[in-house]
Amino acid sequence: MDFNFTEDQTMLRDSIARYLQDRYDFDTRRKVVASESGWRPEVWKAFAEELGILGAPFSEEHGGFGGGAIENMIVMEEVGKALVIEPYLSTVVIGGGFAKHSGFAGASDLIGGIIGGETIIAFAYAEPQGRYNLADLKTTAKKDGAGYTLTGHKAVVWGAPWATHYIVTARTGGSQKETSGVGVFLVEASASGITRRDYPTVDGSRASEIQFDNTPGILIADDAYGLVEQVTDEAIAALCAEAVGVQRKLHEGTLDYTKQRKQFGAPIASFQVLQHRMVDMFMNLEQSVSMTYMATLKLGEDAEERGKAVSSAKVHIGRANKFLGQNAIQLHGGMGMTDELAIGHYFKRATMIEGLFGSVDHHLKRYETLSFGKAA
């Protein structure tokens, strides 16, 4: 058993942490979030060229550094600490994941584009009617000569306004909620038949509703529900790592504030009722770290073990995000309610992570099904 990071992994963490500390302060982020484009392409360029982190989880034969899920975890925790909005999760973890595991004809090119920073991916999987069910798809894919054409409405596609490509789930067969007949497609953002409606998200990112109407797409994998689950599990593990970064900031920020804030002639951190609350926050955080390691290390197991590990991590992280977020605000008092302080922005991101790729209830049910069987 070994929970230590290698020297390379520690270097990776240090270099991204240093970059974000210098270039991604809270005030700068606020301005960027409010700007028209809502992100900084130059940060992405720096991720690719200056830091080289976009190649961290790819093998050397693909031009990467030979890392994997642990490297994603390291990067995502730093993403969480700085509330980075640039789409590492959808591009590197999800886009990269589909390319690696499917090995489709365009995989090498896609990975090359990701590592180089030219290819930015948004994952169009959710649909208005489907809630968190990955198989509930009305979007259809029809064979059209050598390729396919896609038609349907995709909901809340995070990062879509910045993407060069979408990875889209669509039915090549089967009925609306069946796990068979789920295909995964690569669609260029500039392709024909796309109507997009962009909007900000409550936590400072951007997303879109996308309507595809006979839009040409390249098949990444057919009958690929298992692959969709696998890559989504990898995304959830990475999202848990982001949550750990967010939780660290919620906890540290609250400790700092309560030590400084004086009422009744004493720092409010000296009141036992608040001390116990902060201890509970700390325990939630520590167990979030444990669950994130556990889930990340089990991503290579068979589908059932992997699913149980990831869902149990997401259940804990969902609850911990709520507890840490709500109490960080509570212990900051009125200051926690203001947009001027970073703490409220961490709370908002923590709240969004709760629902991303499935709520606590969703993952509890998935865990129950995997652990006790469908009949239970």
Binding site: A155, V202, V273, G333, M337, T351
Partner: protein, 404 residues
């Protein structure tokens, strides 16, 4: 013991229900349904209708414009307003400063402020909290010194800063706690001043909250001259008036009727929103269980409030139970918004402030309720902080009820 309303109470309920149905402005209803931000005029339109009817200040003494309703009737009134989802009557004038004025004020002060407040001609804001005085309100440091003006009259010269001042951007007048004797023990050197918000030296600066709203403000006071006759009660005795007001602020904070209406709305949402299996979310045993638990907790709160009301009817004042009502009421209100956000699923993420939800014939962005779900959840976090944080309320119960 008896849980039924008397026949005359049932008749009263019908009267109130009919009045609201026939008189509530349709335009206001439309704006509420669209989730639009309310203007000063919006807040005042319903206020003025109720003032005309004589129902805007049920708790005031009858001679001053109160309704003389029994506690049960007042309870029915608040239930019916919530049921019809009417815009709330802002508490600062009617429920907060007015009872202080009619309890501690001079006849002149009563004449000057009470009718105008009743009729919605004065919009009040509350100058209590300061950057350094929140839970420890008596630690406030805004200073008021007695001076003689060039006109030979006596004034207070006020300097300091107030914060979290709700809707001060609309206020005509504010009621402020200021320190008139910095040498006395902290509760003993405070005075209660009414300040015209148009007085030179007052600056109101918006504080934007995490839901993106402009609801609260910072108020800066720089050499603000306040005539001495605008002080309520004795100099250095303002804390007595402030404590009296805080008790009034807490009664009604349980928000039972509004939460009931909120649960009804949640049930409506969850019976149309799809769960993971495509069936309505309300048929998902896990979600249904949470709604059921919330309803049961609300019932416990409701009957606690009714017991308090019955006690009041027998002449027991609203006592420290108000801390219990505040804690449980705000917790329930917060859980409600949490469940609405959960019901929104993916569509909890889009953010529409300053961004038109209507996009012509473009793609729809989720169900209508979802647009306000996350901002409302964020905004409601304030309720366990303001009006004496829930931690402070627990201290009050520990000290005053348990005698610890």
């Amino acid at each position: 013991m008896n849980l039924d309303f008397a026949p005359e109470d049932v008749a009263f309920r019908d009267e109130v229900r009919t009045f609201i149905a026939e008189n509530y402005p349709a335009e206001l209803r439309g704006k509420q349904d669209e989730g639009e931000e309310m203007s000063k005029e919006d807040f005042l339109s319903w206020h003025k209708i109720l003032a005309k009817k004589g129902w805007v200040a049920p708790s005031w003494p009858k001679a001053l414009g109160g309704t003389g309703w029994t506690p049960t009737q007042k309870y029915i009134w608040s239930e019916e307003q919530a049921r019809a989802d009417t815009i709330p009557i802002l508490p600062f004038g009617i429920n907060m400063v007015s009872p202080v004025i009619y309890t501690f004020g001079t006849d002149e002060q009563k004449k000057k402020f009470l009718p105008a407040t009743y009729n919605g001609e004065i919009w009040w804001c509350q100058g209590y909290s300061e950057p350094g005085a929140g839970s420890d309100l008596a630690g406030l440091s805004t200073r008021a010194e007695r001076i003689t003006g060039d006109d030979g009259k006596e004034y207070y010269l006020v300097n300091g800063q107030k914060t979290w001042t709700t809707l001060a951007q609309h206020a005509d007048w504010g009621f402020f706690l200021v320190r008139t004797d910095p040498t006395a023990k902290k509760q003993e050197g405070i005075s209660f001043l009414l300040i015209d918000m148009k007085t030179p030296g007052i600056t109101v600066r918006p504080l934007i909250t995490i839901d993106g709203a402009h609801e609260v403000n910072e108020v800066f006071l720089e050499n603000v001259k306040v005539p001495v006759e605008n002080r309520i009660f004795d100099e250095n005795k303002g804390w007595t008036a402030a404590k009296f007001l805080l008790a009034h602020e807490r009664s009604g904070i349980a928000g039972v009727a509004r939460s009931k209406r909120g649960i009804e709305r949640l049930r409506g949402i969850a019976s149309t929103q799809p769960g993971d299996d495509g069936e309505p979310l309300l048929s998902d045993p896990m979600f249904k269980r949470k709604v059921a638990e919330l309803e049961i907790d609300l019932t416990a709160l409701e009957y606690t409030e009714l017991r308090t009301l019955a006690g009041e009817a027998q002449g027991k004042g609203p006592g420290v139970e108000s801390s219990l009502l505040k804690i449980k009421g705000t917790e329930i209100g917060q859980r409600l918004t949490d469940l609405v956000l959960e019901a929104a699923g993916h569509y909890g993420a889009p953010y529409f402030r300053g961004f038109p939800k209507e996009g012509g014939n473009a793609l729809p962005i989720g169900p209508d309720f979802a647009a306000r779900a996350a901002p409302t959840y964020f905004n409601m976090r304030k309720t366990s902080i303001f009006g004496g944080s829930n931690e402070i309320q627990r201290n009050i119960i520990a000290k005053m009820v348990l005698g610890l």
